[in-house]
């Protein structure tokens, strides 16, 4: 086995080594090639080595290629996702995720705001319920007429009597009922010297003697009008007050000449147009400022303020006032001690409360004024809620949009979240 021995030898005299392989491949530099060829001329082992190697390489190179068992093209659909992935902008998914998060945040904020304002609204739920018809109903239909008739007894005060021309008996101030008629009073049923300022009466005042019962004077007074807090309009003669809840309405009745012989009971009929169903007239504390009361015998009556004070709190709660026609409640049926009445037709289920008023002298300018204090409980409460400012204002202005915003944001969030999920799972890079 010579070749075997040579193989063993070759491990020692691997003089040419990889140079033979490179020589076959023409990968030697000219210098290396010349040196190798010079060596090959002398070294038979290396010649054999070269020859067998060359033969091996030649046979290997001429080795037949293997048959392809199949084609190795890749399925077209394999590339589709990748193609889509390539076209899809890189910022698509982050943008979608950011938008989803933003909408979710907005949604939470709106829901939280709704809950916050909703809770503040629920705190005033009864008031909301009370005023609900106002907001819901047509404005024209919501307006209801409430007619309140109240009798206010005006008696000549002692000072008046004193300062009047012929005061007969000075009486105790504040004594409402036991006052004797003024000495110089005109005889009953003599409505003399009463001048009306304007022909449009809205309140009827009737005076009746305590004992006699016959009306001493029937006077129709005109509302001149002033309010405490808001302007008073008199569009068609009737004093119209645009009053909010809790407002104190002062109506000034002016009679240029008033013959006051006996205690005077003034029946004040007020027709109120209200948009509030539940209304209460807390107090009709009329402050009647009588001035220029001209006594027949007195040339110049002193200007005197008369205070009409209720002897009892005439709190009248009116529940769902009927839409009563504005009939003029004329002819105060009540007389004498009966000082206040609320017409039943006007105030449905209203309970008239006796509230005698005492005519008291008070400070003030020259005017006969009846200042019924009309207050509305529901509106009062509502005002109490509304007044506090920011939250109330915010709720009024923003709250109606909350439901819409919640629906829109909720839908947007659902869509965005779905899109994000689809994008993430569908086009997730593998």
């Amino acid at each position: 086995m010579n070749w075997l021995r040579r193989r063993l030898d070759r491990t020692e005299d691997e003089c040419c080594g990889e140079r033979l392989s490179a020589y076959i491949d023409h990968e030697l530099t000219p210098e290396e090639r010349i040196a190798l060829e010079r060596h090959l001329a002398e070294c038979e082992d290396c010649r054999w080595n070269l020859e067998t190697l060359r033969q091996t390489i030649e046979w290997t190179r001429s080795s037949a290629p293997v048959r392809l068992p199949r084609v190795f093209t890749i399925p077209v659909e394999t590339g589709a996702p990748q193609a889509a992935r390539g076209r899809r902008p890189a910022w698509g998914l982050p943008l979608l995720q950011g938008a989803t998060a933003l909408v979710a945040l907005l949604f939470v904020v709106v829901v939280a705001g709704d809950l916050f304002l909703g809770s503040s609204a629920s705190r005033s739920a009864p008031q909301m319920v009370a005023i609900q018809p106002t907001a819901a109903m047509d404005q024209a239909a919501a307006v209801q007429e409430v007619e309140v008739t109240q009798l206010v007894q005006i008696q000549p005060a002692p000072t008046m009597a004193v300062e009047a021309a012929v005061p007969e008996q000075p009486s105790e101030p504040g004594a409402a009922k036991a006052l004797p008629p003024v000495a110089t009073a005109a005889p009953p049923s003599a409505p003399e010297a009463l001048t009306m300022a304007a022909p449009t009466p809205t309140a009827t005042a009737e005076a009746g003697g305590i004992g006699g019962g016959e009306p001493a004077v029937s006077v129709t007074m005109e509302a001149m009008a002033a309010t405490v807090e808001m302007p008073l309009e008199t569009p068609q003669g009737a004093p119209r007050v645009e009053a909010t809840s809790g407002a104190t309405v002062t109506l000034a009745f002016t009679a240029t000449t008033l013959l006051l012989t006996q205690p005077l009971t003034v029946q004040v009929t007020m027709t109120m147009w209200t948009t509030v169903e539940h209304m209460s007239i807390r107090a009709l504390s009329a402050t009647a400022t009588a001035a220029a009361a001209t006594y027949p015998t007195a040339a110049a009556a002193p200007q005197q303020d008369l205070l009409l004070l209720p002897t009892a709190e005439p709190a009248v709660e009116t529940a769902t006032p009927a839409r009563a026609p504005t009939e003029k409640a004329d002819g105060g049926t009540e007389q004498g001690a009966e000082t206040m009445a609320v017409t039943e037709e006007a105030l449905n289920a209203a309970v008239p409360t006796e509230a005698p008023y005492a005519l008291l002298p008070g400070p003030g300018p020259t005017a006969i004024a009846a200042a019924p204090e009309v207050r509305d409980v529901a509106q009062e409460k509502q005002a109490a809620v509304e007044e506090p400012g920011i939250v109330g204002t915010l709720r009024e202005t923003v709250a109606p949009w909350f439901s819409l915003a919640e629906i829109v944001l909720g839908a947007a969030f659902a869509l965005l979240a779905l899109a994000t999920a689809v994008v993430m799972f569908r086009w997730q890079p593998r």
Binding site: N2, E18, T56, W59, S63, P65, V76
Partner: protein, 200 residues
């Protein structure tokens, strides 16, 4: 699309054009499969490795930075073959006995010009050569296949394997010597005309 410029095909394939990439597959699948078959010695494994290599190549197309596309693809094929060898933990068929069964249905293409007896002799030589290649260490095997079966020069082989030129040269030299020794060791199995001269 037809036969177009390889650069255009590569560019289209880089953008995810599967049809363009398949043009390249058709162009190089024979070389790729032959390399895989020579390295693995098994047609099923070679098929798997080749298919895996082309799938990997398509996904890696956007990262192709130019140069020889053939070398780039063959490097992927080589790596896929190494993966096959590692995954299967199986020594490739290395003995002629193991290859006896394949003698009946040779995987090699027949040269119609050859006479039948010549073809049979030649087939016998190819079988021994393949068996000899499979005895080589994997690193020498792939380089010898790339050089002597695929006809690539040293530069291309260095590119395809990521090895230094000197490493390619020495590994090729050692692989050739070992294959030559294998043929000498099995010269009795070969037809007379394919026996290496064992004496001087």
């Amino acid at each position: 699309m037809g036969v177009t410029d390889e650069g255009a095909l590569i560019a289209a394939a880089s953008r995810g054009d599967v049809r363009a990439f398949n043009q390249l597959v058709i162009r190089y699948q024979s070389i790729a499969y032959n390399l895989a078959y020579r390295i693995l010695g098994d047609d099923d494994a070679a098929s798997d490795a080749t298919q895996d290599a082309f799938m990997s190549a398509f996904k890696a197309m956007p990262r192709f930075r130019g140069g020889s596309f053939k070398a780039w693809v063959l490097r992927i094929v080589t790596n896929a073959c190494y993966d096959q060898l590692r995954a299967r933990r199986r020594r490739p068929t290395s003995s002629l006995d193991d290859m006896e069964g394949e003698a009946d249905h040779s995987p090699y293409l027949l040269d119609p010009a050859e006479r039948p007896d010549e073809a049979a002799s030649r087939r016998e030589l190819d079988r021994v050569i393949q068996a000899g290649i499979l005895t080589l260490p994997a690193d020498q095997r792939s380089i010898l296949v790339l050089s002597d079966l695929q006809g690539m020069d040293y530069q291309e082989i260095a590119q395809a394997t990521g090895l230094a030129l000197g490493t390619v040269k020495s590994r090729l030299s050692r692989g050739r010597a070992k294959l030559r020794d294998y043929l000498l060791d099995h010269r009795e199995l070969l037809p007379a005309q394919y026996r290496l001269r064992s004496d001087r």
